[in-house]
């Protein structure tokens, strides 16, 4: 059976710009991920800014091409889709972006973003039927159509706007939705509602989700499996329950320890080794760890910040070690475990209970 959407050994290198031809930034390094036709899954891709998570989303959406490797839709390389396949792809794979304030054209009413896909994909035979579909989609995400339709984007809250985006995706009955930081700009009291809408899409409509975020807490809440990226490479992946509760990779441990828990009795943070050097020159907008890996660099990207660093970490990039049936960690601390090939990443994922 061919997979619905599949990333095979995808690497994306930025650079070779006009001003500085010598700088290369490896945004994503040999990542493979498979979304099967069935059953519907929820996979979280988690990382700091500069970890390559948005690059991954753009690759999966066909908005940018990989430097090497391929993205396949139903077994066909994205670059070689014919017209009909491309159209089917545009329907099957939907996206929800981070900023619910910028995706709308402020001059159009909310109705516009919902009517457009109905017209474009001829989802309805008549205007009335189209209206019916829109009303149904809005109701499914917990919005009252009479309070939503006919309004302008600025008249809705961020949470409502983001749910309209979920409704828009739903209209097309896609197979996969790629959600890139869908709740990071939404107030806390409404965040849970949007997460709930996304979970509902998966359960009720059988849509797979790729949930891209920097927020481990919502990733834990929503997903079944998680991929933790650090500077473009997989640090740790597998069953979200295990990864969050018993993190193995020192980076995942640092990440989870840094989350401020809403509990004053909980002690915040674990000790991290201070970075050896100041990033100089071309520093990206990424914070702390900085962004991407530089091309041709040897060793584990996390070595400079790692409290458990060993000599071997600086010599050769660690492979993924399968440390348990449903998890893998790219760290030499687990070198006694069998090596998992990068393309087998999705095979270790846990199936829904």
């Amino acid at each position: 059976m061919t997979a619905l959407l599949e990333a095979r050994h995808v690497t994306k290198v930025f650079g070779e710009g006009i001003f500085n031809r010598s700088t290369h930034l490896v945004a994503l390094d040999n990542l493979s991920l498979t979304i099967e036709e069935a059953p519907p899954t929820i996979t979280a891709i988690v990382g700091e800014s500069g970890s390559g998570k948005t690059t991954f989303a753009r690759l999966m959406l066909g908005l940018t091409e990989p430097t090497s490797g391929e993205i396949c839709y139903r077994g066909v390389d994205m670059r070689h889709l014919d017209r009909d396949q491309r159209r089917q792809f545009l329907r099957d794979v939907q996206v929800i972006f981070q900023d619910p304030y910028e995706v709308y054209n402020p001059f159009y009413r909310i109705d516009h973003v919902l009517e457009e896909p109905v017209a474009n994909f001829r989802l309805a035979k008549s205007k009335a039927q189209g209206r019916e579909l829109i009303v149904e989609a809005l109701t499914s995400v917990g919005l009252r159509p009479e309070e939503t339709l006919g309004r302008y984007p600025h008249q809705l809250s961020g949470g409502q706007r983001q749910r309209v985006m979920v409704a828009r995706s739903l209209l097309l009955r896609p197979r996969v939705i790629i959600a890139d930081e869908p709740v990071s700009m939404i107030d806390a009291s409404l965040r849970a509602t949007v997460i709930e809408s996304l979970r509902d899409l998966n359960r009720r409509f059988g849509i797979s989700l790729i949930y891209i975020t920097h927020d481990l807490t919502t990733a834990y809440q929503l997903s079944e499996n998680i991929v933790v990226l650090y500077r473009g490479a997989v640090a740790e992946a597998g069953d979200v329950e295990r990864v969050v509760k018993e993190p193995e990779h020192p980076y995942t441990r640092l990440l989870i320890g840094s989350i401020p828990r809403p509990d004053p009795k909980h002690h915040w943070g674990i000790k991290e080794k201070a970075p050896d050097r100041v990033p100089s020159g071309r520093s990206n907008n990424g914070a702390g760890g900085g962004a991407g890996g530089s091309a041709g660099r040897q060793g584990c990207h996390f070595a400079d910040r790692c409290p458990n660093v060993m000599a071997m970490c600086r010599e050769k990039t660690p492979p993924l070690y399968q440390t348990a049936p449903h998890r893998a960690t790219a760290c030499y601390l687990y070198r006694d475990s069998p090596v998992a090939a990068p393309e087998k990443l999705s095979e270790i994922f846990v199936a829904r209970a």
């Binding site: 809440q221 401020p260 509990d263 520093s283 914070a287």
Partner: protein, 333 residues
């Protein structure tokens, strides 16, 4: 000796728009004790950032401070002439603003920006002393001394925020207002920056007002918390008390809406939306969303009242327990 470094009384700020006056801050009162870390938490539109700007007297038209009192170490800030207020800003009360990464000047080096601050406040130092002081400041915020000669774009997000903190503390202020200082940073960097801020606060003996929307950050970084909703302060209390037993229904629901790392699918959003500040509902501003609302809530706006030691809440559910005073200034510090 007065144990309060800052006393705010009935502060009101309105923004004048074509549709009418937006009551962004609607008569709030609170105290900041010497050396204390006070949090102000609220969702977008709750008025928390407006409070920060009003304390600094940086509200610009169409906004206007409509009334109230701000006493900094006994000095009434709202009545000062502009020039005197300018001298006090940064020297006595400093602001680390939201998105500080964009508040550095992109075309001058960090050194120059600290020098500007020192010169504007008539700090008399010779070139060598000044350079030494700048180096020390940068080291204190966890930056290398060489960062002084860098431009903003050469620094990462966390480093830029550190540079902003260095500017904020360059004159050893008594009060530091940090408005969402880490909202644009990754969690790991957020933790480092907050640790730096706390170390500095302790060294300087300063007091901090931390403004934000993240209850988790508040739980870890402040001693006392005030919860804002629609321009009102609706609950205050010590951080442990407030988290172990939130009194206001909004605070309770807000905490229930936080996703946890321990338990799946427990979080529930709060139905409804914050009211428009142009025409707030009659009575309690939260009553349209409140599961416990009763008749009185729809007609009478509850006042912030002390209902038990060091606990103030603006809610009719608790008004039977009120012990007189309607401001947290009365608490036994």
């Amino acid at each position: 000796m007065n144990s309060n470094i800052l006393e705010v009384r009935d502060l009101r700020v309105h923004y004048y728009t074509r549709q009418g006056a937006v009551q962004a801050v609607n008569g709030i009162s609170f105290d900041l004790h010497v050396g204390e870390r006070l949090g102000l938490v609220g969702e977008s539109g709750s008025g928390k950032s407006t409070v920060a700007l009003a304390l600094m007297r940086l509200i610009r038209p169409p906004g206007k401070i409509e009334g109230g009192q701000v006493l900094l170490d006994g000095l009434s800030l709202l009545e000062l002439p502009d020039e005197q207020m300018r001298q006090i800003r940064l020297a006595e009360i400093a602001l680390v603003s939201q998105g500080a990464m964009n508040s550095l000047n992109p075309v001058t080096r960090v050194r120059r920006q600290i020098e500007d601050a020192l010169r504007d406040h008539d700090v008399k130092l010779n070139a060598r002393e000044r350079s030494e002081w700048i180096g020390e400041l940068l080291q204190r915020v966890g930056l290398p001394r060489t960062a002084a000669d860098m431009y903003a774009h050469e620094l990462s997000g966390g480093m830029k925020q550190r540079a902003c903190i260095a500017i904020a503390i360059c004159l050893r202020p008594k009060v530091i207002i940090a408005d969402e200082p880490t909202s644009a940073l990754d969690v790991v960097v957020q933790h480092q920056v907050m640790e730096t801020l706390e170390t500095l606060r302790a060294e300087l003996g300063a007091s901090v007002i931390l403004i934000g929307h993240d209850m988790g950050l508040m739980a870890q970084a402040v001693d006392r918390l005030g919860v804002m909703y629609a321009g009102d302060l609706i609950e205050t209390g010590n951080i442990e008390d407030l988290f172990s037993e939130p009194l206001h229904p909004y605070t309770r629901l807000l905490m229930a809406s936080l996703p946890s790392l321990e338990q799946k699918e427990a979080a529930r959003g709060i139905p409804g939306l914050m009211p428009s500040l142009l025409n707030k509902p009659k009575g309690c501003p939260f009553h349209p969303r409140c599961p416990d609302a009763f008749d009185r809530c729809r007609v009478e706006e509850p006042k912030l009242q002390t209902v038990r030691p060091k606990r103030d809440v603006a809610c009719h559910l608790h008004s039977a327990n009120a012990v007189g005073a309607n401001s947290i200034s009365r608490e036994a510090a």
